[in-house]
Structure formats: C-alpha cells, structure tokens
C-alpha cells in the first residue's frame, strides 16, 4: 500500500470516527445521564427493554 493511499484511508477513518463521536454526543444531549446508551448504571438488558418501549 503506497504512502498516499495510506494517508487517504487514515484520514477517512478519522473522519468516520469524528462523525460517530459527534452523533453519540448529540444523542447524549437529548438523553443525558442514564437515559443515554453510554451510561453504565443501567444494564444493557434494561436499555433494550426501554428502547423497545420507546418505539410506537
């Protein structure tokens, strides 16, 4: 793999990571604390149930 291609792929991965971080931050803003998926205070099972209940 050439150095130029490596740079292009690396920058693509960086952009993807930045987008995912931004998305996760925006989600957290809407559901701060244990409403968010990143909170470790509530078990994943409970979160699955809560997500299911949120669906109309």
């Amino acid at each position: 793999m050439s150095a130029t291609l490596q740079t292009a792929v690396a920058l693509g991965i960086v952009a993807l990571a930045a987008i995912l971080l931004l998305r996760s931050w925006l989600k957290k803003r809407h559901q701060p604390g244990c409403g968010s998926e990143s909170c470790s205070a509530v078990s994943p099972e409970i979160k699955k149930i809560q997500a299911k209940l949120r669906k109309p």
Partner: protein, 697 residues
C-alpha cells in the same frame, strides 16, 4: 374483564439488595442490578413480561416505601402513580406488593394503604425461609382469607413461588380486598368531605378518593414532585380547614388514624403469625454485635477495604502483564507487516496504543466489581452505611447520604440519581455536589497507570501499591467530608436529619448474581473502550499528527509540538506548569474531560506517536522515559502523585455534569460544581507540588 396490561410492583424500602425483588425480576425479565442500598430502585423502571396466555404485560417497578406518606421524591412518585396523579404513567391495573414475611407487621402498613385503593392486589409473601429461621410461621392461607386477595409465599434466593406468582399475575379476574378497619369517629366527617371533593374536583374514582383522603389527613401532602397533577384548590381548602381545626382543638387525629391502622394490622398478624420458638438474638444480630461494634466495626471495615485494594493489585498483576504483553506484541506485529505510512501509524499509535492502554485495566475493574458485589450480596454494604452514619452526622449529613456516595465509588451518575431517596432538599443538593469527589471506577485506570509509572516492576510489594491506591480513595472521601461540612455551614445551613435504616439479614453470597454483574460491568468497560475511547483515540491521533512538520526529518517531539493537539497543550501549559505538568499532559487533561479514563488512552496515543517507530514498549515505560526539553524527567514521582491528586478532585466528566443539570433542573449547580472541584484540584496540586519541590522531591 380484560387481561391486565399494567402491573405495578412495589415493596418496602430497605437499605439492602432487597432480597425479595429478584424472583419478581426473574418473572418479568427485569434483570436489573440489585444493590445493598435504596438507590437502586429509585428510578421508575419498566419491563415487559408475558401472561400465561401469551399476552404482553407491562410491569412498572416502583420505588420501595414503608407507607404512602411520602418523605422523599421517590416515595412521592410511588404515591402519585398508585393514586393516578402522574401524567406520564398509567394507573396500574394490578399491584404486586412484595412483603417481607420476617417483618410482616411493619410491611403490612403499605399493603393496608394500597388495599384501600380498591385495585386488584397480589401479595408476594417473600423471605418465608428467613421468617422460619427467625422462629416464625406465617400462615399465607389465613392472610389470604383475612384480606381477600391472593397471597403467594415465595423464597427469593431459592426461586420458590415464582410459578404461582406468575399464574396469579395472569389471572383474568382477581378478587378485591375485603379488609376492615375502623376509622376513628371524629375523623369520619373530614374523610367524607375530602372524598367528595376529590371525586368532584379532582376526578378520582370513589374508592381511590377515599384512600387519598385518608392519606392526606395523615400526610398533608408535604412532598410533591414534578410531573404529578396538583390537587384542586377546593381540596386544598378543605384540607387546610381540617388541619387548622385540629390544631385549634389540640387534637392529633393524624396520629390516631395511623394508630388505628396499626391496631388493625396487629390484630391481623396475631391470627396469621405463630411463634414456633422463643425469639433470641438471630445469627445476623450476633454477627452485627461484632461488625457494627463502635471499635471493632471500624477495625473490620478498614481491614475489608484494605484487603479489597490489596486484591486489586495482587490478583490482577499476572493477567495485566499478559494483556500488556499481547497488546505490545500485536502493535509490533502490525508494524512488522505494514509498510511505513499514516495508516500504519494510526493503527499502532492511535488504535492499539489508545485502546490497548485502557484494556489492560480490565482485570482490575473485574476484581473491584467482584468484591463490591460480594459485599453487597452478603449484606455488609448496608453495615458500611450504618458505620459511616456517625462521621457523616459530624459534617451535617447522615448515613442516607452515604448510600449514594457509596454508589459513587462505581460511578457518580447512579450515585447522584440515588440522592432522590434523601428527604431533605438541602442534604440532597449537598450530596449531589460532593458525590463526584468519590473516586469512581473511571479514575482507576489513571491511578493504576500513575502507580505503575511511579512504582515500577515486581520489586515494589503489592501492599505499597495498594496503600497508595487506598490513600487516593481516602483523599477523595476526605474531600467529600470537608466540602459537605463546608457547604452545610455556608450555603446550606440546617440541622441534620436522623437516619432510620433496616439492616438486612446476612446471607451467603449469590455468586451467580455477582458474576453476572461483574461480567456486565466488564463488558460495558470494553464496549466503552471499543467505541468512545476508540473514536477519541483515532481523532486524537489525527490531532497529534496534523498539520505535519514542514521538515520531514523533524523529531517526533517537534512533530507533536507542531500538531493541533500540541498547540492546544502549549496554550494550556502556562496554567498547568506550576503543577509540574507539561503541554503533553495538558492534552490528556483536555481530552479526559469527555471521560477520565480517556487520559490513559491519550497518553498512549501521544507517547506512541512520540516513540520510535519500532519501539512497542508498554505505556508505563514510555512515560518513565519522557522528559522536559532540558532533559529532566517529566513523570517524576512527585508529578505522578500530583496528577493522581488532580484526578481525585477535578470535575473531569461531562456526563456527570449533564446528570447534575437534570437532577437540579438548573445549570447553576453543575457550573458551580465544575468551578469548585477543578479550582480545588488546581490549588491542592499547586500546594502539593510546590511543597514537594521545596522539600527536595
């Protein structure tokens, strides 16, 4: 009659893992954490189960309480859901009351009030084995006959009675209660007048209106929470009228009402509970005589905490070395198979360096949660709260505040949410403000990295490392006491409230539950490392690599200084240099505001980028090799200690600030918290570092 769609689950409040709850969770699939403090059920939790007929049933897990007379926000939520006052929660079709058979009389007060509501009720008579061990035989059929509602004997730990409970939940029709008790005569007109007003002006069904009238006359609706419908002004006027009239008459009819209910419960228990032998001190009482002793209790508490931290270091050393070696070998392998370039650097320095630096702490996280689970499961954690009640009262708080603080050792977020059980608003706010000072598990990787850098290799005994770690926890706890004392004497003056806590009986540890909780925590840690920390590490790699230095033969340090992150670190350096930190540590301080453990991955990325290309040395060695431009070592023992002290006090967690904002409904308190904690961290570190320098360290 239609099948039930909403079932509320409630029981008594206790400071324990509420051993009566697990069987119900087993039925509902609500496998939530069971802890030794009331905070775990402070949230309203909802789950779905299926009836015998395959229909979905929504289970609302309500906070525990001894009565419907609310003294705290979580009890107010319970009261309001059951009375149909909540706008966000439907009034339950059925109510399952989980009752401790070993303390039947005390537990029946809440049941008795719920029966007044005229809703179908199922009583889960749990801990029958505990009652038998205490020399009591509780006749469930007689209780069922007396109350007219299904009474299902259960044994939580052994999973007995679950099928019967689920069948009762699935029944299409349930009989209504037929309990009788005499409301004192002089109160009857007040009850009737309030009942009529609640029916006419607050749209309550007649039976619920009567139950609410009885409750209002004993509680006067002192605690209210947001989201509940307020009472009409007419009802308030009637309530105030009776209150004034009774005050003028110097008659305590509220107490008379409570007494008459207890009399009815006492009569009921006389027929239902039989003593099979004389009651002496139980096994738990005998153990408590030692573990809660005013001297021995503290000594044992200290030994247990010391053993916990010693185990974290001694047991985790081998698996940590193994993971460390594998991460380094993997990084070396990637470097070997890929040609030089940005992608290779991203994988080795960003991904492997950042995530690998965090993952090696997994064994210690697992060991910590195993022991915490062990203490909770056996019932010792509630004793720890009891022991801490006295020192807490010295600073103006009580043991009830310590329970959320204990939870904050794992994570400040559930700890802060658990403060909803604190009745006094001032005490609750003080507890929220100081809770993040408790050393949470996110600080653990930072402490461990600094200890590994400060005390390298096998030459230093595990006891020394454990002692240093323990001292950080003690420092954080000391900070909690100091600031609680300070706030209670300045911002939140008021007399301390007394704590009444029911200690659970000691039980053998439930290893299955502990292991499940431990694995769950470990998985969340790995998930966090594989998502947020991975993302931050990748972005940080970019920020430490770009823009590139104009000279291709620039040293790694010159390159990182030229980068975006380097420039941000340099901008921060004048503020942190008096603490002994350079701009590279400054980058870690900035990024770890997202989460404290990100500091470790940031160091992994920065010192990975800075390190030689073919040098897969562990992070702690890379830190030990780091130096100032003049050649002086950067991570001296004093700097490592100062950095640990900084993380003890600094408010480095965005999520916690968001939760404080939500819990206090204001940005004022999280901003105040950010200012006082980070200001304290800077000041303490300045004094600590400069004093250390002056003493020649």
């Amino acid at each position: 009659m239609k099948l039930p769609a909403h079932i509320a689950l409630t029981g008594r409040k206790r400071a324990t893992p509420a051993p009566e709850r697990p069987p119900v969770y087993a039925i509902t699939g609500l496998r939530q954490k069971v802890g030794n403090y009331p905070g775990v059920t402070v949230e309203k939790k909802i789950g779905i189960t299926w009836s015998q007929h395959g229909r979905p049933i929504q289970i609302i897990d309500l906070p525990g309480a001894y009565s419907l007379a609310a003294r705290s926000p979580d009890e107010a939520v319970l009261r309001d859901v059951l009375l149909g006052r909540r706008e966000d929660t439907p009034q339950p079709d059925r109510i399952i009351c989980v009752v401790d058979a070993a303390n039947l009389e005390r537990n029946l007060y809440l049941v008795h009030q719920i029966l007044d509501l005229g809703r179908p009720v199922i009583i889960a008579l749990n801990m029958m084995d505990m009652a038998a061990a205490a020399g009591m035989k509780v006749a469930a059929p007689e209780l069922e006959r007396a109350l007219g509602v299904p009474v299902i004997p259960c044994e939580a730990v052994h999973g007995k009675g679950l099928v019967a409970l689920k069948l009762a939940m699935s029944r299409i029709e349930l009989p209504l209660a037929r309990h009788r008790w005499d409301v004192p005569g002089p109160i009857a007109p007040a009850v009737a007048e309030l009942q009529a007003s609640l029916t006419d002006h607050d749209a309550r069904p007649p039976l619920i209106a009567r139950a609410e009238a009885l409750l209002l006359l004993t509680d006067f609706d002192t605690v209210r929470v947001a989201g509940s419908r307020p009472l009409s002004s007419r009802t308030h006027d009637i309530l105030n009228h009776w209150r004034q009239r009774w005050t003028a008459d110097a008659a305590d009819w509220s107490a008379a009402l409570i007494r008459s209910r207890y009399d009815a419960i006492g009569l009921l228990c006389r027929d239902v509970v039989r003593r099979t032998r004389d009651l002496g001190p139980s096994r738990s009482d005998r153990i408590d005589a030692v573990l809660c002793h005013s001297v021995w209790g503290w000594a044992i508490f200290g030994v247990i905490m010391g053993a916990l931290f010693f185990s974290i270091f001694s047991l985790a050393e081998s698996p940590m070395n193994f993971i460390d070696g594998q991460v380094a070998a993997f990084g070396g392998w990637v470097k070997g198979v890929m040609p030089p370039g940005d992608l290779r650097d991203l994988l080795t320095d960003g991904v492997i360096g950042g995530v690998g630096g965090i993952v090696i702490f997994l064994p210690q996280i697992l060991i910590l949660f195993f022991f915490v689970g062990l203490l909770e499961s056996t019932g010792y954690m509630a004793r720890a709260a009891f022991i801490m009640d006295r020192p807490m009262s010295r600073v103006g708080l009580n043991g009830r505040s310590f329970i959320p603080l204990l939870g904050s050792y794992a994570c400040a977020i559930p700890g802060i949410m658990a403060t909803r059980t604190i009745e006094n608003a001032r005490d609750r706010l003080v507890t929220i403000l100081v809770a993040p000072l408790m050393s949470c598990s996110a600080r653990l990787p930072v402490y461990l990295l600094m200890i590994a850098t400060l005390l390298p290799g096998d030459t230093v005994p595990a006891t020394t490392k454990a002692g240093l770690m323990l001292s950080m926890y003690v420092l954080g706890t000391g900070g909690v006491f100091f600031f609680a004392w300070l706030f209670k004497r300045t911002l939140f003056k008021g007399s301390p409230q007394h704590m009444i806590m029911e200690l659970p009986p000691y039980q053998p540890p439930r290893f299955q539950e502990i292991l499940r909780h431990m694995i769950e925590r470990g998985w969340l840690f790995l998930k966090n490392a594989g998502t947020i920390i991975l993302g931050i590490s990748i972005v940080l790699w970019f920020l430490t690599t770009y823009p590139k230095h104009p000279h291709p033969d620039a040293t790694p340090t010159e390159q990182i200084a030229q980068s975006f992150a380097g420039r941000a670190g340099h901008a921060l350096e004048p503020v942190i240099k008096p603490l002994g930190f350079d701009w590279r540590i400054g980058i870690g301080l900035i990024t770890s505001f997202a989460a404290r453990e990100v500091f470790v991955s940031s160091m992994g990325v920065i010192f990975g980028v800075e390190g030689a290309d073919d040098d897969p040395t562990p992070l702690r060695d890379a830190l030990r090799a780091a130096h100032w431009p003049g050649g002086a070592p950067l991570f001296t023992p004093l700097v490592c200690l100062t950095l640990m002290v900084f993380y003890v006090f600094a408010m480095q967690c965005m999520s916690t600030l968001a939760v404080v904002q939500r819990e206090t409904n204001s940005w004022r308190w999280p901003l105040f918290q950010l200012a006082y904690m980070t200001g304290t961290a800077w000041l303490v570190c300045l004094i600590f570092y400069q004093a250390g320098r002056a003493l020649g360290y």
